[in-house]
Amino acid sequence: MTKLLLIEDDSETAEEITAELADRGFEIEWSDNGIEGLDKARSSRPDAMIVDRLLPGMDGLTVIEALRKDQVRTPVLVLSALGAVDDRVRGLRMGGDDYLTKPFAIVELVARVEALLRRPAESRDTTLRVGPLELDLIERTAKRGDRVIDLLPREFRLLEYMMQRSDQLLTRAMLLEEVWNYKFVPATNLVDVHMGRLRHKVDGPEEVPMIHNVRGAGFILRTGP
């Protein structure tokens, strides 16, 4: 089972998070202050960490900094009520791998934790293969089986991102940040529209749908039914 460490000082929030993650099959350990959290991180070696920024004892970013100094590479998701871009940049620069502002949807948290745990390995392959989909990263062409898919550059980027994280829930926020480099949330449902286009091209009329919309959460590219 995947082990997670949550360092969060608000017990109600921590309870909700713990419950949700446990439901999903994770093993969760919880600490409510920075010093104890740092200890636990060193001793129990979790697979990923969720760290609140504002903690008693030692603040979240300092905990991460200390871990990084010790060459501990555990992926960390930073939670914070501080939502300005500068805060986000700082959080990531201090060693965090992803940054989520409060309040957040629990679905978002889970999706990002899973993304952290299954970060695509650095691959030298010039071809991406997921199920019948094949992407040539040099030529920038796409195929499904034998059918050539004609993709616009932005659609290619989107598909590439999804294929690298196949079978993972990808929230709209994640897609906006990673694929389009948007630091803000536009009013219009940009992601949905783009995803709609892509789906239309990838999932032909007779074919098994691979791109799925998870209601209220995001999208997922499934390899199998």
């Binding site: 389009w180 219009t188 709609g196």
Partner: protein
């Protein structure tokens, strides 16, 4: 203690110093005049008696006596002295009782004193005299009182005193008055400032349009107060805005939850209630975040994050992103970037601003319309223009659109909070650009970047997508 304040004040001390210097100078000047006058008068007197001596000495012996007597007779004021003495010292004629002791007979005028015996008694007078020995052995002495010249000098001195003293007093009074006025003005300003500190932000320092330092200072401080008032209102306004517009979604959430709690009997019903509540809470959070961001940008030091932003690329990106959305409404979205242009700014914010404009344009344009994104180079500025074939913004609406939470009736059914243009305006202002909203048929909004903010422009091959 007004007096103590006056005396201590710098204005007064300065006035005092100036007065003192002035007085010293005037005294020195008058002293000089006095001295010169004295010298002149004496010199003139000396010339006269020397001339007189020559005249009388040139006369033949017998005539001399008459001349001396005549000379003395004509001396109505009694300031002349003359005497002819025999070789043995015996007085021949004249009003000198004896040959003045100490008087050298060398034709040079000297100062000495003589004693005169009059009805009133013996008097000592200071005179200037000259003497010569005649050919026949007689001694001729001609003299003149110096007291007279002294008197004239005295008059000058008195004039000095009479004039200087009042002038001195006048200076002191003027100094005191100026100092008092300065104190008054400072006190006046202080009163106003106290009121401002107490919270009345509308207060301004009074000043007349005179070109005096106080007025200029007041004008400067007023300008500063204007800025501060705007900022404080903006910050306070955030609180007001938040309170005002959060009530609706939060009330909805609460109502839904309350009703659901009482009336819901099935799981599905509760889920519907929960969904409603979450949606409204999310709406509230969106508003809060947007307003805080707006305030942060409007009052921001985010210029620290400024870098080099290739505007031409940014516009193409926005077009790329919104293309499918435009397509859904059958709107032809086009970007025309004929030049490369880099600006100093925050890429994320500029992207958001342009995206907002394009988003609005698409929202407002009916099916089958057009939206154009253009980058134009003007005389001393660059223009990012977003135009559409929609109904546009009327003259009256132009003011209104920049109000918080304003949403035109034309798009009331679409999602959005009504802060988009506020955000664009704030971002534009932060960058030192200008936002121009044109009225009339067809929407047209422009972000104007003056050349000073641009870092490099060049001509690329015109491209449109």
């Amino acid at each position: 203690m007004l007096q103590a304040q006056i005396i201590r004040s710098i204005t007064f001390r300065r006035a005092l110093a100036v007065t003192g210097a002035f007085a010293v100078f005037v005294i020195a000047l008058f002293g000089f005049i006095y001295w010169q006058t004295d010298q002149y008068l004496i010199a003139r007197s000396d010339r006269m008696i020397a001339r007189q001596l020559n005249v009388i000495a040139a006369l033949p012996g017998e005539r001399r006596l008459d001349a001396i007597d005549e000379h003395l007779r004509q001396d109505s004021r009694g300031v002349q002295y003359a005497g002819l003495f025999a070789a043995d010292g015996r007085r021949i004629t004249g009003n000198l009782e004896q040959f003045p002791p100490g008087l050298q007979m060398n034709d040079s005028v000297q100062s000495l004193s003589v004693v005169r015996t009059l009805q009133t008694g013996r008097e000592t007078h200071a005179i200037r005299a000259v003497a010569r020995r005649m050919a026949n052995g007689d001694a001729l002495a001609i003299g003149r009182e110096v007291d007279e010249t002294r008197e004239i000098s005295h008059v000058v001195g008195q004039a000095l005193a009479l004039g200087l003293l009042p002038a001195f007093c006048l200076c002191l009074v003027a100094g005191a008055w100026l100092s008092m006025r300065a104190q008054e003005r400072v006190e006046d300003v202080n009163q106003h400032v106290q009121r401002i500190i107490a919270g009345d932000l509308r207060e301004r320092l009074p000043h007349r349009d005179v070109d005096d330092p106080f007025s200029r200072l007041a004008a400067i401080v007023n300008g500063m107060l204007d800025e501060m008032e705007t900022m404080i209102h903006a910050l306070a306004g955030v609180g007001n805005d938040i309170a005002h517009d959060l009530r609706t979604p939060l009330t909805r959430a609460r109502l839904a939850l309350e009703r659901g709690r009482t009336n819901a009997t099935t799981m599905e019903q509760l889920q519907v209630v929960a969904d409603k509540a979450v949606a409204n809470i999310d709406q509230s959070l969106t508003i809060i975040t947007a307003l805080l961001r707006l305030a942060a940008i409007e009052n921001s030091r985010r210029s620290a994050a400024f870098g080099n932003v290739p505007l031409h690329e940014l516009l193409r990106e926005v077009c790329d992103i919104y293309e499918p959305i435009a397509e859904n409404k059958n709107i032809h979205l086009r970007v025309e970037v004929g030049h490369r242009l880099n600006v100093r700014g925050d890429r994320d914010l500029l992207l958001e601003a342009v995206a907002n404009l394009v988003d609005n344009a698409i929202k407002f344009t009916p099916e089958g319309g057009k939206v154009d994104i253009e980058l134009l180079l003007g005389d001393s500025e660059a223009i990012v223009r977003v135009s559409d074939t929609g109904p546009g913004i009327s003259e009256q609406e132009r003011e209104a659109v920049l109000r918080r939470f304003y949403r035109s009736d034309k798009i009331r059914s679409t999602p959005g909070v009504g802060l988009g243009l506020n955000l664009v305006a704030a971002i534009v202002k932060l960058h030192g650009f200008r936002l121009v909203i044109h009225s009339g048929q067809g929407g047209r909004l422009e972000i104007i970047c003056p050349d000073e903010q641009c870092e490099g422009r060049g001509l690329g091959s015109p491209m449109s997508a």
